[in-house]
């Protein structure tokens, strides 16, 4: 039962990754692409993390998976912001 639930979460998460990748390839400009990528991948990773956490044996492993999800989510949001910022303003040294 737990395995089936985990597989469902992981499959759903993979679907979001595929959707994000299609968006990256199909959308016309950098901001639309960022929009597709950061949001779809964030949700996809969260779903996969839930699926993997269901299969994880110990509380420590669940905690580590949660940490990985948190930091990847924050880093990906920051990356998206930095890319958009660069696309609008370029490099500033002051």
């Amino acid at each position: 039962m737990l395995e089936i639930a985990a597989a469902a979460f992981i499959a759903l998460g993979t679907l979001f990754f595929v959707a994000g990748t299609v968006g990256l390839l199909r959308f016309p400009d950098i901001f639309c692409r960022l929009h597709a990528l950061t949001k779809a991948d964030g949700l996809g990773l969260a779903l996969i993390a839930v699926g993997v956490a269901l299969l994880a044996g110990t509380a420590g492993a669940v905690f580590r998976i949660a940490l990985v999800w948190f930091f990847v989510a924050v880093a990906s949001a920051t990356c998206g912001h930095l890319i958009a910022r660069y696309a609008r303003h370029g490099v500033r040294h002051d």
Binding site: F71, V74, H81, L82, R85, V91, R92, H93, D94
Partner: protein, 325 residues
């Protein structure tokens, strides 16, 4: 091994080769670096599939992470600071000056020799034999640690590891000798979101790096992996301008560079002076000595990699320098 995993492995291997080809043939230098980083990440995944998590961690942290950061820093310098690549090259296309045929040929010969050496090593290895697993497992009780890779790296073959640390030291000495290093300009302004992210990521990175070092005694991890993650702390400090290297910090930096090599060599000499072979640690002190060496080597690796990222010796009246994490 089950069938789906074989399909996964073949796809992974093909993707790695394709990424290598793409990284070498793409014209845009930035795309080249991104492809190289993805290549490093997939290589790390391949090491996981080969049941070598230690190598995977090192590949991900050093091969993809730190090397990617060094390459991006160099590209930034070439495009925006030194202007070497010129204005038309600044937005993508590499300059069209052809590489001399001699350089290409020399590179091809060296790469061919390395491939040949790997092939000879692969063909010369006993096919499907037990390898050194049994020998290492048998010797583990005498190593002072519980993780075989750490036992091999810091006890049975500690001499090799010492040489690796010396190579890193030589690299940073060479970089500091160059008068016109990468850049003495401070990092570009990256905005408040980035500053907030750095405030969040910095303490976490310190914990992860220290954890990787500590866990190395009984699980995958160790000085190189921990050191590379701690070097990321230096990168965060430099990129947020929270730390601006000053000429007066050079003494501390030099001390940190040689700390690992020095302690490593000193331990070997002290052990040798007790009538033993250089790295034949007395068993009752083996774990303490290995942890001491690993700790000091980690500090050296972290500071050295961060200094390599900064790319030059801090000189007077510039906002350049290095980081002392």
């Amino acid at each position: 091994m089950t069938d789906p995993l074989v399909i996964f492995d073949v796809a992974l291997a093909l993707a790695i080769v394709a990424l290598a080809v793409a990284a070498l043939s793409v014209r845009d230098l930035f795309a080249m670096i991104v492809l190289f980083v993805v290549f490093g990440l997939l290589s790390a995944l391949a090491w996981v599939r080969l049941s070598a998590p230690d190598v995977a961690l090192a590949e991900a942290a050093i091969g993809a992470g730190v090397t990617g950061a060094l390459l991006l820093k160099t590209l930034h310098h070439l495009r925006y600071v030194s202007g070497t690549l010129g204005q038309q090259a600044a937005y993508g296309v590499t300059p069209l000056t052809p590489v001399p045929i001699g350089v290409t040929l020399a590179n091809a010969i060296f790469c061919g020799l390395i491939t040949l050496g790997l092939a000879v090593a692969y063909l010369g290895a006993p096919a499907a034999g037990p390898g050194f697993d049994a020998l290492v497992a048998e010797a583990m009780p005498r190593s002072g640690v519980d993780h075989p890779v750490t036992g091999v790296l810091l006890n049975f073959r500690a001499y090799d590891t010492l040489m690796e640390v010396v190579v890193l030291l030589a690299a940073v000495v060479a970089v500091w000798q160059i008068e016109r290093g990468v850049s003495d300009a401070p990092a570009p302004v990256l905005g408040e979101v980035w500053q907030g992210f750095a405030r969040l990521a910095l303490p976490a990175t310190v914990v992860v790096g220290t954890y990787l070092l500590w866990v190395g005694a009984e699980a995958p991890g160790g000085a190189f992996q921990g050191g590379a993650v701690l070097a990321a702390v230096g990168l965060l400090l430099l990129l947020t301008r929270a730390y601006v290297p000053q000429p007066t910090h050079r003494g501390i930096a030099r001390g940190a560079f040689v700390l690992g090599t020095g302690v490593f060599a000193l331990v070997a000499l002290l052990v040798a002076s007790g009538g033993r072979v250089a790295f034949e640690y007395p068993l009752e002190h083996a774990k303490t000595l290995i942890l001491l060496i690993e700790g000091m080597v980690t500090i050296s690796i972290a500071v050295t990699l961060a200094a390599l990222f900064h790319g030059r010796e801090p000189v007077a009246q510039t906002k350049g320098g290095r980081d002392d994490t």
